[in-house]
Symmetry: C2
Subunit: 160 residues, 2 copies
């Protein structure tokens, strides 16, 4: 993406602004039944995600959010907490995604992002990769999802 | 989920129907600009996902799909190819997700799913975990995303 906005270099976070142990927090974010159904009908139409009666009969005992929906909510919360203010160049990938407990209609989710590693690019000196750990918790302070994510960020240009 | 549909035990795939090397294929699945924008506005509102002008200025040279959108499309293609016909009990997680090349408006995506490992549950003899590798490719036969996913499946009940 362009690092320039309205003619100014003006991101809050460039690659060199990240450090190991740095924490970002986002939420609470409400999850409605309608959103769970809408996402799952498009992207994960398994009975326990789209059919309340079938979900009640399932091992989950009721409707639960698709894991991809939960991850996408984490992504949005990350953008709101940090990435949206950063010189983001996209993500090479994610590791160790774990869905620990169901996310259910009416849950209020909070995300904690901790910087685990800061890795300058060897081939491109203007950027680097930041590895973070995500912990998504519900209103009962139960961890519902964890994941490790990679993000590429530009260094602050000389003009900034 | 209930393993019973319309009074019959009738999934095509139970845990014991999976074997290492088994392949499922899905697609092609078209990706429209409207869908890319709609997903990203909700879940990943970075400029190169939601703003065509900013995307042109970015390192990607144009609008690209959110990685979470691409993964969610993979999920849907998996449900269409296999999980929708299987005694699925949800997923413990995913590993080694890699976004290798951008997914762009107008792309037609194909998914290849290969069974990598079949792991009976030690604590619950009625089920097991199947580990699969996903390779998502575009219309130029370029791999755009790879991931390893875990799925829990019920064994065929005695009645089936």
């Amino acid at each position: 993406m362009s690092l320039q906005r309205n003619g100014d270099w003006m991101f809050k976070y460039y690659f060199e602004d990240f450090y190991v142990g740095q924490v970002f927090e986002s939420g609470p974010r409400h999850v409605s039944k309608e959103e769970i159904l809408d996402f799952a009908r498009k992207y994960d139409p398994q009975p326990f995600h789209i059919d309340e009666a079938a979900a009640r009969q399932s091992i989950f005992g009721g409707l639960i959010a698709s894991g991809w929906h939960t991850g996408s909510i984490c992504m949005r919360m990350s953008v709101d907490a940090m990435i949206g203010a950063a010189a983001s160049l996209g993500s090479p990938g994610v590791d160790e995604g774990r869905w620990l407990k169901p996310v259910r209609p009416g849950d209020d989710l909070s995300l904690r992002i901790e910087v685990l590693e800061v890795i300058p690019s060897r081939s491109k000196p203007d950027r680097g990769v930041v590895r973070v750990g995500w912990t998504l918790s519900n209103q009962k302070q139960e961890a519902v999802m964890t994941m490790k994510g990679l993000g590429m960020y530009a260094r602050r240009p000389a003009e900034a």
